[in-house]
């Protein structure tokens, strides 16, 4: 376990929208290339501290974005 989790998205625009909202809420996130073990997508994923999972899920639900999944790294 790296201590990080990753959120997968279906569009880059969704990932960028989520990044902005999470940064504004004080969550330490980083956009990374989508890890191959989770998806063959060529897009971006959002890495976050796994301990913030509940908050991240809550904030993303408020945005109403369609997610490709949330996984521990």
């Amino acid at each position: 376990m790296s201590g990080y989790g990753v959120v997968l998205f279906y569009t880059t625009s969704s990932a960028l929208r989520a990044e902005k909202a999470l940064v504004e809420s004080g969550v330490e996130v980083k956009l990374i290339p989508t890890p191959r073990q989770f998806s063959s997508d060529c897009g971006l994923a959002l890495r976050f501290p796994w301990q913030d999972r509940a908050r991240v899920e809550e904030l993303l639900a408020m945005l109403g974005l369609q997610l490709g999944g949330i996984h521990p790294l």
Binding site: Y10, T12, S13, L16, K20, L31, P33, D41, C42, L44
Partner: protein, 400 residues
């Protein structure tokens, strides 16, 4: 008057103090310095392909494009930035809706003041079995909402209309038309090519389902930018994409994804242009759209008063500057518009557009088809004294 004439400027570029640029309805010029700087900055510091890779230059480009998506959504009063689709121009955005939504057997309603960006795809669809009704407008371009209501049938899928005429500046009663269309189950597409950035525009308040805009006119961005905005209530599932291809998302699929904006936005976007568009929108917001509108109304009033006092000049469109955009069309008795345009440019440095303005239907409505009109369309960088010079130039050309 100060002479801007002579042949030296023909065939070469000009600076803003050498000409009086009255062709803002075609494209705004000069652009704010911040637009140029944003475009240079994008190429110098963020030149990756937005949404295609995960490295820092791609992410930097993606953030710029996404940031402008947010700006556009906020500018038109739409809560979800993912419902902003970037396109090369308003024409492309209009085609996405018309060709993607309408099927043979459907009925579509439009008006007698449309640009060919609307009329040509509609005529093509008509040949494929889409029924078309064109609601006539008054000779000053005014649209009567009740006539739209009469044209709507049970099978009417869409009403498409221009917000502000590119020929005479007449503003359509969009909110009334949208309410009538919705009460009979039809969707509404608004062609905001001339109004986006020129008048306050809120999709929710107007009640339109689709808004097509261009970036290079009153939004002060570069050519090659524009977009389609979908209202929160409209179902994107009913639109077949005009173009399919790579989106940087769901790359394992050979089918086009349904997610917005990707469904309607295939291929590498014009990131550098979009960066410039963002700076243009910021410039408009900084200046204040009400202030910009008041400035253009002042210029419009001066044009209407000045031109109407010249013998032989005939003006078209509403005479009240508050009821229109600063897009002023006129003809001169006994003169061709092409001669007037050439002499205004060569002898006075007044740059305008003459002819049919890609809108033969609108010119038929106002009674100037096929000869066309001379169109003066000032913008935010044009001063009142320049308008007076332009009016004096018309008077001089008409005299001699």
């Amino acid at each position: 008057m100060r002479c801007r004439g002579g042949t030296a400027h023909r065939g070469v570029s000009a600076t803003a103090d050498q000409v009086i640029y009255l062709d803002h309805a075609a494209t705004s010029w000069p652009k704010p310095a911040s637009v140029v700087a944003a475009m240079a900055g994008y190429l110098e510091r963020a030149g990756g392909n937005p949404g295609r890779s995960g490295h820092r230059l791609s992410v930097a480009a993606g953030r710029i494009v996404y940031g402008v998506r947010e700006q556009v959504a906020a500018f038109f009063g739409v809560p979800d930035p993912l419902r902003v689709i970037f396109t090369p121009n308003a024409t492309h955005a209009i085609n996405i809706v018309l060709r993607g939504l309408l099927q043979p057997g459907d009925h579509v309603v439009t008006t007698g003041m449309e640009h060919n960006a609307v009329m040509r795809p509609l005529r093509a669809l008509e040949r494929k079995g889409v029924a078309l009704s064109v609601v006539p407008c008054a000779p000053d371009g005014t649209l009567e909402p009740d006539l739209v209501a009469l044209a709507i049938r049970p099978e009417t899928k869409l009403v498409v209309l221009c917000h502000g005429s590119n020929v005479v500046g007449t503003i359509a009663p969009v909110a009334e038309v949208a309410a009538l269309a919705h009460s009979q189950g039809a969707l509404v597409l608004l062609d905001a090519a001339q109004t986006a950035g020129a008048v306050p525009l809120d999709m929710g308040r107007l009640g339109v389902d689709f808004l097509a805009f261009t970036g290079h006119k009153s939004l002060m961005g570069p050519p090659g930018t524009g977009g389609l905005v979908l209202s929160p209530s409209v179902d994107p599932g009913q639109i077949e994409p005009l173009v399919a291809g790579g989106t940087g998302s769901r790359s394992e699929w050979q089918e086009q994804p349904e997610d917005l904006p990707d469904k309607l936005e295939s291929g590498t976007p014009n990131g550098v242009g979009i960066a410039g568009l963002g700076a243009g929108i910021a410039w408009v917001q900084e200046r204040g759209i009400e202030e910009l509108q008041a400035h253009e109304q002042e210029l419009c009033r001066e044009l209407l008063e000045g031109l109407s006092s010249i013998p032989g000049v005939r003006l078209y469109g509403p005479m009240d500057p508050a009821q229109r955009l600063a897009v002023v069309s006129f003809t001169v008795e006994g003169r061709t518009v092409s001669e007037l345009g050439l002499r205004l440019d060569e002898e006075h440095g007044v740059l305008c557009r003459v002819g049919l303005h890609c809108a033969p239907a609108a010119h038929s409505t106002i009674g100037t088809f096929p000869q066309g009109t001379v169109r003066f369309a000032p913008g935010p960088m044009v001063s009142l004294s320049q308008i007076r010079e332009a009016v004096a130039a018309v008077a001089e050309v008409v005299r001699s």
